[in-house]
Protein backbone atom coordinates (compact mmCIF):
# COMPACT_ATOMS: atom_id res chain seq x y z
CA UNK A 1 0.00 0.00 0.00
CA UNK A 2 2.81 2.38 0.80
CA UNK A 3 5.24 1.38 -1.98
CA UNK A 4 8.90 1.87 -1.20
CA UNK A 5 9.03 4.05 1.92
CA UNK A 6 12.61 5.07 1.24
CA UNK A 7 11.94 6.48 -2.20
CA UNK A 8 12.36 10.03 -0.88
CA UNK A 9 15.84 10.01 0.71
CA UNK A 10 14.91 12.00 3.81
CA UNK A 11 17.22 10.00 6.07
CA UNK A 12 20.21 11.76 4.57
CA UNK A 13 19.02 15.27 5.47
CA UNK A 14 20.66 17.27 8.24
CA UNK A 15 17.20 17.65 9.77
CA UNK A 16 17.20 13.92 10.45
CA UNK A 17 20.09 14.44 12.82
CA UNK A 18 18.76 17.32 14.89
CA UNK A 19 14.99 16.68 14.94
CA UNK A 20 15.19 13.77 17.43
CA UNK A 21 17.26 15.93 19.79
CA UNK A 22 14.78 18.80 19.59
CA UNK A 23 11.84 16.46 20.13
CA UNK A 24 13.69 14.86 23.07
CA UNK A 25 14.12 18.29 24.70
CA UNK A 26 10.49 19.19 24.06
CA UNK A 27 9.21 15.92 25.49
CA UNK A 28 11.53 16.32 28.49
CA UNK A 29 10.15 19.82 29.19
CA UNK A 30 6.56 18.74 28.67
CA UNK A 31 6.95 15.67 30.88
CA UNK A 32 8.61 17.64 33.67
CA UNK A 33 5.87 20.29 33.48
CA UNK A 34 3.25 17.56 33.71
CA UNK A 35 5.09 16.02 36.67
CA UNK A 36 4.99 19.43 38.39
CA UNK A 37 1.28 19.84 37.62
CA UNK A 38 0.48 16.34 38.96
CA UNK A 39 2.63 16.80 42.05
CA UNK A 40 1.05 20.16 42.82
CA UNK A 41 -2.36 18.60 42.44
CA UNK A 42 -1.46 15.85 44.91
CA UNK A 43 0.08 18.32 47.32
CA UNK A 44 -3.01 20.52 47.20
CA UNK A 45 -5.24 17.50 47.82
CA UNK A 46 -3.10 16.43 50.75
CA UNK A 47 -3.19 19.88 52.31
CA UNK A 48 -6.87 20.19 51.60
CA UNK A 49 -7.68 16.83 53.14
CA UNK A 50 -5.35 17.39 56.08
CA UNK A 51 -6.53 20.84 57.02
CA UNK A 52 -10.12 21.18 55.87
CA UNK A 53 -11.08 18.30 58.17
CA UNK A 54 -9.51 19.93 61.21
CA UNK A 55 -10.20 23.13 63.08
CA UNK A 56 -8.88 24.90 66.12
CA UNK A 57 -10.92 26.76 68.70
CA UNK A 58 -9.24 29.56 70.54
CA UNK A 59 -10.67 30.67 73.87
CA UNK A 60 -9.16 33.80 75.49
CA UNK A 61 -7.86 33.21 79.00
CA UNK A 62 -9.42 34.83 82.07
CA UNK A 63 -7.21 36.87 84.40
CA UNK A 64 -8.71 35.65 87.69
CA UNK A 65 -8.37 32.09 88.98
CA UNK A 66 -12.05 31.95 89.78
CA UNK A 67 -13.21 32.92 86.34
CA UNK A 68 -10.63 30.60 84.81
CA UNK A 69 -12.05 27.70 86.75
CA UNK A 70 -15.58 28.51 85.52
CA UNK A 71 -14.28 28.79 81.97
CA UNK A 72 -12.53 25.42 82.22
CA UNK A 73 -15.81 23.89 83.39
CA UNK A 74 -17.58 25.46 80.38
CA UNK A 75 -14.89 24.08 78.10
CA UNK A 76 -15.37 20.55 79.43
CA UNK A 77 -19.12 20.76 78.85
CA UNK A 78 -18.54 22.13 75.37
CA UNK A 79 -16.09 19.34 74.53
CA UNK A 80 -18.61 16.68 75.59
CA UNK A 81 -21.23 18.27 73.31
CA UNK A 82 -18.82 18.40 70.39
CA UNK A 83 -17.76 14.78 70.85
CA UNK A 84 -21.38 13.70 70.55
CA UNK A 85 -21.69 15.25 67.09
CA UNK A 86 -21.60 13.07 63.99
CA UNK A 87 -18.46 13.27 61.83
CA UNK A 88 -16.24 14.36 64.73
CA UNK A 89 -13.43 11.92 65.30
CA UNK A 90 -11.33 13.63 67.93
CA UNK A 91 -11.59 16.61 70.28
CA UNK A 92 -8.64 17.59 72.39
CA UNK A 93 -8.01 20.45 74.77
CA UNK A 94 -4.30 21.19 74.49
CA UNK A 95 -2.53 20.81 77.86
CA UNK A 96 0.25 23.02 79.24
CA UNK A 97 3.03 20.85 77.83
CA UNK A 98 1.56 21.04 74.33
CA UNK A 99 0.99 24.78 74.66
CA UNK A 100 4.54 25.25 75.88
CA UNK A 101 5.75 23.36 72.83
CA UNK A 102 3.74 25.62 70.54
CA UNK A 103 4.97 28.81 72.24
CA UNK A 104 8.58 27.71 72.49
CA UNK A 105 9.74 29.15 69.17
CA UNK A 106 8.56 32.63 70.20
CA UNK A 107 8.89 32.72 74.01
CA UNK A 108 11.59 30.17 74.74
CA UNK A 109 11.59 27.33 77.25
CA UNK A 110 10.41 27.41 80.88
CA UNK A 111 7.45 29.72 80.30
CA UNK A 112 5.12 30.10 83.18
CA UNK A 113 1.90 29.85 81.25
CA UNK A 114 -0.26 31.08 84.07
CA UNK A 115 1.72 34.32 84.21
CA UNK A 116 0.74 35.01 80.62
CA UNK A 117 -2.76 35.33 79.15
CA UNK A 118 -2.22 32.35 76.87
CA UNK A 119 -5.53 31.27 75.30
CA UNK A 120 -7.00 27.78 75.61
CA UNK A 121 -6.80 25.80 72.37
CA UNK A 122 -9.14 23.00 71.39
CA UNK A 123 -8.11 20.87 68.41
CA UNK A 124 -10.99 19.16 66.59
CA UNK A 125 -10.54 16.48 63.92
CA UNK A 126 -13.42 15.56 61.62
CA UNK A 127 -13.90 12.26 59.83
CA UNK A 128 -14.32 14.22 56.62
CA UNK A 129 -14.50 17.85 55.65
CA UNK A 130 -18.08 19.04 56.23
CA UNK A 131 -19.33 22.60 56.23
CA UNK A 132 -22.43 21.44 58.10
CA UNK A 133 -20.43 20.02 61.04
CA UNK A 134 -18.29 23.14 61.19
CA UNK A 135 -21.44 25.30 61.25
CA UNK A 136 -22.86 23.18 64.08
CA UNK A 137 -19.64 23.57 66.08
CA UNK A 138 -19.66 27.32 65.49
CA UNK A 139 -23.29 27.53 66.66
CA UNK A 140 -22.62 25.57 69.85
CA UNK A 141 -19.55 27.68 70.53
CA UNK A 142 -21.43 30.95 70.14
CA UNK A 143 -24.04 29.69 72.61
CA UNK A 144 -21.65 28.25 75.23
CA UNK A 145 -18.51 30.36 74.98
CA UNK A 146 -19.27 33.53 73.00
CA UNK A 147 -15.78 34.94 73.51
CA UNK A 148 -14.14 32.01 71.63
CA UNK A 149 -13.14 32.07 67.97
CA UNK A 150 -12.86 29.28 65.42
CA UNK A 151 -9.98 28.90 63.03
CA UNK A 152 -10.92 26.41 60.30
CA UNK A 153 -7.69 27.20 58.31
CA UNK A 154 -9.78 28.17 55.31
CA UNK A 155 -8.13 31.56 54.76
CA UNK A 156 -4.52 30.46 54.44
CA UNK A 157 -5.51 27.10 53.00
CA UNK A 158 -7.41 28.98 50.29
CA UNK A 159 -4.32 31.07 49.51
CA UNK A 160 -2.13 27.98 49.39
CA UNK A 161 -4.52 26.08 47.18
CA UNK A 162 -4.82 29.14 44.91
CA UNK A 163 -1.05 29.20 44.57
CA UNK A 164 -0.85 25.51 43.69
CA UNK A 165 -3.64 26.01 41.14
CA UNK A 166 -1.65 28.82 39.49
CA UNK A 167 1.47 26.62 39.38
CA UNK A 168 -0.60 23.82 37.85
CA UNK A 169 -2.06 26.13 35.20
CA UNK A 170 1.41 27.47 34.32
CA UNK A 171 2.78 23.91 34.09
CA UNK A 172 -0.06 22.83 31.80
CA UNK A 173 0.42 25.98 29.73
CA UNK A 174 4.06 25.00 29.32
CA UNK A 175 2.92 21.57 28.06
CA UNK A 176 0.66 23.24 25.48
CA UNK A 177 3.36 25.73 24.43
CA UNK A 178 5.91 22.95 24.11
CA UNK A 179 3.44 21.07 21.87
CA UNK A 180 3.03 24.20 19.73
CA UNK A 181 6.80 24.73 19.54
CA UNK A 182 7.27 21.09 18.50
CA UNK A 183 4.68 21.53 15.74
CA UNK A 184 6.41 24.70 14.47
CA UNK A 185 9.73 22.88 14.47
CA UNK A 186 8.31 20.01 12.44
CA UNK A 187 6.80 22.50 9.96
CA UNK A 188 10.23 24.06 9.52
CA UNK A 189 11.99 20.70 9.12
CA UNK A 190 9.33 19.45 6.69
CA UNK A 191 9.59 22.60 4.58
CA UNK A 192 13.35 22.14 4.56
CA UNK A 193 12.85 18.57 3.39
CA UNK A 194 10.45 19.70 0.68
CA UNK A 195 12.94 22.29 -0.53
CA UNK A 196 15.84 19.79 -0.55
CA UNK A 197 13.81 17.11 -2.35
CA UNK A 198 11.79 19.43 -4.54
CA UNK A 199 12.83 17.61 -7.72
CA UNK A 200 11.88 14.20 -6.31
CA UNK A 201 8.53 15.51 -5.08
CA UNK A 202 7.85 17.09 -8.48
CA UNK A 203 8.87 13.86 -10.21
CA UNK A 204 6.40 11.84 -8.13
CA UNK A 205 3.72 14.44 -8.76
CA UNK A 206 4.33 14.33 -12.53
CA UNK A 207 4.27 10.53 -12.51
CA UNK A 208 0.79 10.63 -10.96
CA UNK A 209 1.44 10.05 -7.27
CA UNK A 210 -1.45 11.07 -5.04
CA UNK A 211 -0.69 13.87 -2.58
CA UNK A 212 -1.26 11.45 0.28
CA UNK A 213 1.44 9.12 -1.12
CA UNK A 214 4.02 11.92 -1.14
CA UNK A 215 2.85 13.18 2.27
CA UNK A 216 3.19 9.68 3.73
CA UNK A 217 6.95 9.74 2.98
CA UNK A 218 7.37 12.84 5.11
CA UNK A 219 4.89 11.86 7.83
CA UNK A 220 6.46 8.45 8.49
CA UNK A 221 9.90 10.02 8.51
CA UNK A 222 8.74 12.58 11.10
CA UNK A 223 7.02 9.80 13.09
CA UNK A 224 10.17 7.68 13.14
CA UNK A 225 12.38 10.55 14.29
CA UNK A 226 9.93 11.81 16.88
CA UNK A 227 9.49 8.35 18.41
CA UNK A 228 13.26 8.14 18.90
CA UNK A 229 13.35 11.69 20.30
CA UNK A 230 10.22 11.25 22.40
CA UNK A 231 11.41 8.09 24.09
CA UNK A 232 14.81 9.67 24.80
CA UNK A 233 13.10 12.71 26.35
CA UNK A 234 10.87 10.48 28.47
CA UNK A 235 13.88 8.47 29.65
CA UNK A 236 15.70 11.66 30.68
CA UNK A 237 12.60 12.90 32.49
CA UNK A 238 12.32 9.52 34.25
CA UNK A 239 15.90 9.80 35.47
CA UNK A 240 15.28 13.35 36.72
CA UNK A 241 12.08 12.35 38.54
CA UNK A 242 13.81 9.34 40.14
CA UNK A 243 16.67 11.57 41.34
CA UNK A 244 14.29 14.16 42.80
CA UNK A 245 12.18 11.47 44.38
CA UNK A 246 15.25 10.08 46.12
CA UNK A 247 16.24 13.56 47.37
CA UNK A 248 12.71 14.27 48.66
CA UNK A 249 12.66 10.89 50.37
CA UNK A 250 15.88 11.75 52.19
CA UNK A 251 14.45 15.12 53.31
CA UNK A 252 11.59 13.21 54.98
CA UNK A 253 9.45 16.33 55.33
CA UNK A 254 5.68 16.28 55.74
CA UNK A 255 5.23 19.53 53.84
CA UNK A 256 7.27 18.47 50.76
CA UNK A 257 5.55 16.48 48.04
CA UNK A 258 6.29 12.87 47.19
CA UNK A 259 6.94 11.90 43.58
CA UNK A 260 4.84 8.78 43.36
CA UNK A 261 2.26 8.30 40.66
CA UNK A 262 -0.78 6.17 40.08
CA UNK A 263 -1.10 3.92 37.04
CA UNK A 264 -3.32 6.56 35.38
CA UNK A 265 -0.75 9.26 36.00
CA UNK A 266 2.02 7.09 34.57
CA UNK A 267 -0.23 6.60 31.55
CA UNK A 268 -0.56 10.36 31.23
CA UNK A 269 3.23 10.77 31.37
CA UNK A 270 3.69 8.05 28.74
CA UNK A 271 1.28 9.99 26.54
CA UNK A 272 3.88 12.75 26.18
CA UNK A 273 6.19 10.98 23.66
CA UNK A 274 3.15 9.45 21.97
CA UNK A 275 1.50 12.86 21.61
CA UNK A 276 4.76 14.39 20.37
CA UNK A 277 5.01 11.66 17.73
CA UNK A 278 1.41 12.13 16.62
CA UNK A 279 1.80 15.91 16.51
CA UNK A 280 4.99 15.53 14.45
CA UNK A 281 3.37 13.06 12.07
CA UNK A 282 0.20 15.06 11.50
CA UNK A 283 2.08 18.37 11.21
CA UNK A 284 4.42 16.90 8.59
CA UNK A 285 1.47 15.49 6.66
CA UNK A 286 -0.51 18.74 6.68
CA UNK A 287 2.57 20.79 5.75
CA UNK A 288 3.25 18.59 2.70
CA UNK A 289 -0.41 18.52 1.66
CA UNK A 290 -0.62 22.32 1.86
CA UNK A 291 2.53 22.66 -0.18
CA UNK A 292 1.35 20.16 -2.80
CA UNK A 293 -2.01 21.91 -3.07
CA UNK A 294 -0.14 24.79 -4.71
CA UNK A 295 0.83 22.48 -7.59
CA UNK A 296 -1.75 21.90 -10.37
Amino acid sequence: MFGNRNDVPLDRDASSRFLPWLIAMMVYLATMSLVIALTMNKLANRWDQGLSSSLTIQVPSEPSVEKRSTLEQQLKTFIVKIESLDNVSQVELLNDTELNKLMEPWLGKDILLHDLPIPYLISIELDSSSAQTIDEIKLLLSQDIPSASVDDHQRWLGNLLGLTKIIQIIALLVVVLVGGAAALMVILVTRMGLAIHRQVVELFHHMGAHDSYIASRFQFHALKLSIVGGLSGLLLAGITVASFSSLLGQANSAILPTLTFTAGEWGLLLLMPLSASLIAMMTARLTVLRSLALMP
Partner: protein, 238 residues
Protein backbone atom coordinates in the same frame (compact mmCIF):
# COMPACT_ATOMS: atom_id res chain seq x y z
CA UNK B 1 -15.05 18.00 -28.06
CA UNK B 2 -13.20 15.65 -30.38
CA UNK B 3 -12.53 12.47 -28.41
CA UNK B 4 -10.42 11.08 -31.24
CA UNK B 5 -7.69 13.57 -30.44
CA UNK B 6 -5.23 12.72 -27.69
CA UNK B 7 -4.00 16.29 -27.21
CA UNK B 8 -5.62 19.49 -28.37
CA UNK B 9 -4.37 23.04 -27.84
CA UNK B 10 -6.83 25.81 -28.70
CA UNK B 11 -5.48 29.37 -28.52
CA UNK B 12 -3.34 28.41 -25.54
CA UNK B 13 -1.15 31.01 -23.89
CA UNK B 14 1.29 30.36 -21.08
CA UNK B 15 3.09 32.82 -18.89
CA UNK B 16 4.87 32.29 -15.60
CA UNK B 17 3.60 34.62 -12.90
CA UNK B 18 3.18 38.12 -14.24
CA UNK B 19 5.91 37.67 -16.88
CA UNK B 20 5.45 37.81 -20.66
CA UNK B 21 3.91 35.00 -22.72
CA UNK B 22 6.24 32.01 -22.97
CA UNK B 23 3.82 30.35 -25.36
CA UNK B 24 1.62 32.44 -27.57
CA UNK B 25 -1.67 31.37 -29.12
CA UNK B 26 -0.77 27.71 -29.56
CA UNK B 27 -3.08 25.63 -31.72
CA UNK B 28 -2.10 22.03 -32.30
CA UNK B 29 -3.55 18.56 -32.16
CA UNK B 30 -2.05 15.11 -31.65
CA UNK B 31 -3.90 12.04 -32.83
CA UNK B 32 -3.60 8.77 -30.92
CA UNK B 33 -0.64 6.70 -32.13
CA UNK B 34 1.08 9.65 -33.79
CA UNK B 35 4.77 10.53 -33.58
CA UNK B 36 5.77 14.18 -33.57
CA UNK B 37 9.01 16.05 -33.27
CA UNK B 38 9.22 19.46 -31.73
CA UNK B 39 12.17 21.57 -32.74
CA UNK B 40 13.38 25.04 -32.01
CA UNK B 41 16.31 26.85 -30.45
CA UNK B 42 17.01 26.67 -26.72
CA UNK B 43 14.62 28.85 -24.76
CA UNK B 44 12.06 28.88 -27.58
CA UNK B 45 9.42 27.22 -25.36
CA UNK B 46 9.75 23.49 -26.16
CA UNK B 47 10.02 22.46 -22.52
CA UNK B 48 7.13 24.75 -21.57
CA UNK B 49 4.94 23.15 -24.19
CA UNK B 50 5.88 19.70 -22.88
CA UNK B 51 5.22 20.85 -19.29
CA UNK B 52 1.70 21.79 -20.36
CA UNK B 53 1.30 18.35 -21.91
CA UNK B 54 2.46 16.51 -18.82
CA UNK B 55 0.21 18.73 -16.71
CA UNK B 56 2.90 20.48 -14.72
CA UNK B 57 1.07 23.72 -15.54
CA UNK B 58 -2.37 24.76 -16.61
CA UNK B 59 -2.64 27.21 -19.54
CA UNK B 60 -2.81 30.90 -18.60
CA UNK B 61 -5.54 31.21 -21.18
CA UNK B 62 -7.05 29.14 -23.97
CA UNK B 63 -8.16 25.54 -23.84
CA UNK B 64 -6.04 22.42 -23.48
CA UNK B 65 -7.59 18.98 -23.74
CA UNK B 66 -5.68 15.80 -22.93
CA UNK B 67 -7.31 12.42 -23.50
CA UNK B 68 -10.49 14.32 -24.35
CA UNK B 69 -10.59 16.09 -20.98
CA UNK B 70 -10.42 19.86 -20.65
CA UNK B 71 -7.48 20.34 -18.28
CA UNK B 72 -8.81 23.54 -16.75
CA UNK B 73 -12.08 21.80 -15.83
CA UNK B 74 -10.43 18.86 -14.05
CA UNK B 75 -9.83 18.82 -10.31
CA UNK B 76 -6.44 17.81 -8.87
CA UNK B 77 -7.42 14.17 -8.34
CA UNK B 78 -8.58 13.81 -11.92
CA UNK B 79 -5.34 15.38 -13.16
CA UNK B 80 -3.41 12.82 -11.10
CA UNK B 81 -5.20 10.00 -12.90
CA UNK B 82 -4.48 11.64 -16.28
CA UNK B 83 -0.78 11.95 -15.38
CA UNK B 84 -0.57 8.19 -14.92
CA UNK B 85 -1.29 7.81 -18.62
CA UNK B 86 1.65 10.02 -19.56
CA UNK B 87 5.30 8.92 -19.62
CA UNK B 88 8.02 11.53 -19.41
CA UNK B 89 11.70 11.37 -20.25
CA UNK B 90 13.49 14.34 -18.82
CA UNK B 91 16.58 15.86 -20.35
CA UNK B 92 18.48 15.31 -17.07
CA UNK B 93 16.84 11.86 -16.58
CA UNK B 94 15.85 12.64 -12.95
CA UNK B 95 16.76 9.21 -11.67
CA UNK B 96 16.88 8.76 -7.91
CA UNK B 97 20.49 8.07 -7.03
CA UNK B 98 19.71 6.16 -3.83
CA UNK B 99 17.49 3.63 -5.61
CA UNK B 100 18.60 0.79 -7.88
CA UNK B 101 17.84 0.78 -11.61
CA UNK B 102 15.05 -1.70 -10.92
CA UNK B 103 13.52 0.46 -8.17
CA UNK B 104 13.79 3.56 -10.36
CA UNK B 105 11.99 1.88 -13.23
CA UNK B 106 9.34 0.49 -10.88
CA UNK B 107 8.49 3.94 -9.44
CA UNK B 108 5.47 4.68 -11.69
CA UNK B 109 3.97 1.39 -10.49
CA UNK B 110 4.94 1.58 -6.81
CA UNK B 111 3.51 5.08 -6.45
CA UNK B 112 0.14 3.62 -7.42
CA UNK B 113 0.38 1.23 -4.48
CA UNK B 114 1.76 -1.86 -6.22
CA UNK B 115 4.44 -3.70 -4.29
CA UNK B 116 7.92 -3.95 -5.76
CA UNK B 117 7.83 -7.74 -5.43
CA UNK B 118 4.73 -7.96 -7.63
CA UNK B 119 6.13 -5.79 -10.41
CA UNK B 120 9.73 -7.06 -10.22
CA UNK B 121 9.30 -9.50 -13.14
CA UNK B 122 7.81 -6.92 -15.51
CA UNK B 123 10.45 -4.37 -14.59
CA UNK B 124 13.27 -6.89 -15.08
CA UNK B 125 11.92 -7.81 -18.52
CA UNK B 126 11.74 -4.18 -19.55
CA UNK B 127 15.28 -3.50 -18.34
CA UNK B 128 16.43 -6.53 -20.35
CA UNK B 129 14.63 -5.09 -23.40
CA UNK B 130 16.66 -1.89 -23.10
CA UNK B 131 19.84 -3.93 -22.64
CA UNK B 132 20.29 -3.52 -18.90
CA UNK B 133 19.58 -7.04 -17.68
CA UNK B 134 22.89 -7.10 -15.84
CA UNK B 135 22.33 -3.79 -14.11
CA UNK B 136 19.09 -4.35 -12.18
CA UNK B 137 20.69 -3.59 -8.83
CA UNK B 138 23.06 -0.90 -10.05
CA UNK B 139 22.53 2.59 -8.73
CA UNK B 140 22.44 5.45 -11.29
CA UNK B 141 25.76 7.06 -10.29
CA UNK B 142 27.51 3.80 -11.27
CA UNK B 143 25.92 3.76 -14.73
CA UNK B 144 27.12 5.55 -17.87
CA UNK B 145 25.09 8.41 -19.35
CA UNK B 146 23.63 6.13 -22.03
CA UNK B 147 22.68 3.48 -19.48
CA UNK B 148 21.05 6.08 -17.27
CA UNK B 149 19.09 7.29 -20.24
CA UNK B 150 17.81 3.78 -20.93
CA UNK B 151 16.75 3.46 -17.30
CA UNK B 152 14.87 6.76 -17.70
CA UNK B 153 13.18 5.45 -20.86
CA UNK B 154 12.23 2.19 -19.15
CA UNK B 155 10.75 4.17 -16.26
CA UNK B 156 8.75 6.32 -18.67
CA UNK B 157 7.18 3.33 -20.44
CA UNK B 158 6.79 0.76 -17.62
CA UNK B 159 3.19 1.80 -16.92
CA UNK B 160 2.34 1.53 -20.64
CA UNK B 161 1.51 5.23 -21.10
CA UNK B 162 -0.75 6.38 -23.91
CA UNK B 163 1.40 9.47 -24.39
CA UNK B 164 5.20 9.54 -24.14
CA UNK B 165 6.94 12.91 -23.92
CA UNK B 166 10.70 13.21 -24.30
CA UNK B 167 12.46 16.47 -23.56
CA UNK B 168 15.78 16.66 -25.45
CA UNK B 169 16.45 12.95 -25.00
CA UNK B 170 19.31 13.08 -27.50
CA UNK B 171 20.90 16.17 -26.01
CA UNK B 172 23.96 14.52 -24.54
CA UNK B 173 24.39 11.72 -27.06
CA UNK B 174 26.45 11.42 -30.21
CA UNK B 175 24.45 11.20 -33.43
CA UNK B 176 24.67 7.44 -33.82
CA UNK B 177 23.40 6.63 -30.34
CA UNK B 178 20.79 9.41 -30.63
CA UNK B 179 19.51 7.85 -33.84
CA UNK B 180 19.28 4.43 -32.19
CA UNK B 181 17.33 5.97 -29.35
CA UNK B 182 14.83 7.44 -31.80
CA UNK B 183 14.44 4.00 -33.40
CA UNK B 184 13.55 2.71 -29.95
CA UNK B 185 10.85 5.39 -29.72
CA UNK B 186 9.56 4.27 -33.12
CA UNK B 187 9.28 0.74 -31.77
CA UNK B 188 7.17 2.04 -28.90
CA UNK B 189 5.12 4.11 -31.33
CA UNK B 190 4.39 0.98 -33.38
CA UNK B 191 2.91 -0.54 -30.22
CA UNK B 192 0.41 2.32 -30.07
CA UNK B 193 2.10 4.89 -27.87
CA UNK B 194 1.72 8.49 -28.99
CA UNK B 195 5.15 10.12 -28.92
CA UNK B 196 6.37 13.69 -28.79
CA UNK B 197 10.11 14.30 -28.90
CA UNK B 198 11.53 17.76 -28.30
CA UNK B 199 14.95 18.33 -29.79
CA UNK B 200 17.09 21.21 -30.96
CA UNK B 201 18.95 18.87 -33.33
CA UNK B 202 17.05 19.50 -36.56
CA UNK B 203 19.57 17.49 -38.59
CA UNK B 204 18.77 14.36 -36.62
CA UNK B 205 15.03 15.00 -36.74
CA UNK B 206 15.12 15.38 -40.52
CA UNK B 207 16.34 11.82 -40.85
CA UNK B 208 12.95 10.55 -39.61
CA UNK B 209 9.61 10.52 -41.37
CA UNK B 210 7.43 12.19 -38.76
CA UNK B 211 5.60 15.53 -38.53
CA UNK B 212 7.63 18.37 -37.04
CA UNK B 213 6.44 21.34 -35.03
CA UNK B 214 8.76 24.30 -34.81
CA UNK B 215 8.64 26.66 -31.87
CA UNK B 216 10.10 30.12 -32.27
CA UNK B 217 9.59 32.82 -29.64
CA UNK B 218 6.70 30.94 -28.08
CA UNK B 219 4.82 30.43 -31.35
CA UNK B 220 4.23 26.92 -32.66
CA UNK B 221 4.02 26.04 -36.36
CA UNK B 222 3.75 22.73 -38.15
CA UNK B 223 6.71 22.92 -40.52
CA UNK B 224 6.54 19.39 -41.89
CA UNK B 225 3.75 16.89 -42.13
CA UNK B 226 4.33 13.17 -42.57
CA UNK B 227 3.51 13.22 -46.28
CA UNK B 228 6.06 15.87 -47.16
CA UNK B 229 8.83 14.36 -45.10
CA UNK B 230 12.07 12.98 -46.54
CA UNK B 231 12.68 9.29 -47.00
CA UNK B 232 12.34 7.22 -43.87
CA UNK B 233 15.62 6.20 -42.30
CA UNK B 234 16.70 2.65 -42.00
CA UNK B 235 15.23 1.04 -38.95
CA UNK B 236 17.54 -0.17 -36.23
CA UNK B 237 17.54 -1.00 -32.59
CA UNK B 238 19.14 0.34 -29.44
Amino acid sequence: MDFKLLVRFQDVHLRYGSGPDVLHQVNLTLAPGSFHFMVGPSGAGKSSLLRLMYLAHRPSSGRLSIFGRDVSQQDRKELTMLRRRIGIIFQDFRLLDHLTALENVALPLTITGQSLDKVRRNVSELLSWVGLADYLDAKPPTLSGGQQQRVAIARAVIARPSLLLADEPTGNLDDKIAERLLFLFEELNKRGTTIVVASHNEGLVNRFNHPVFKIVNGEVRLIRSEQSSPAAPTAGSV
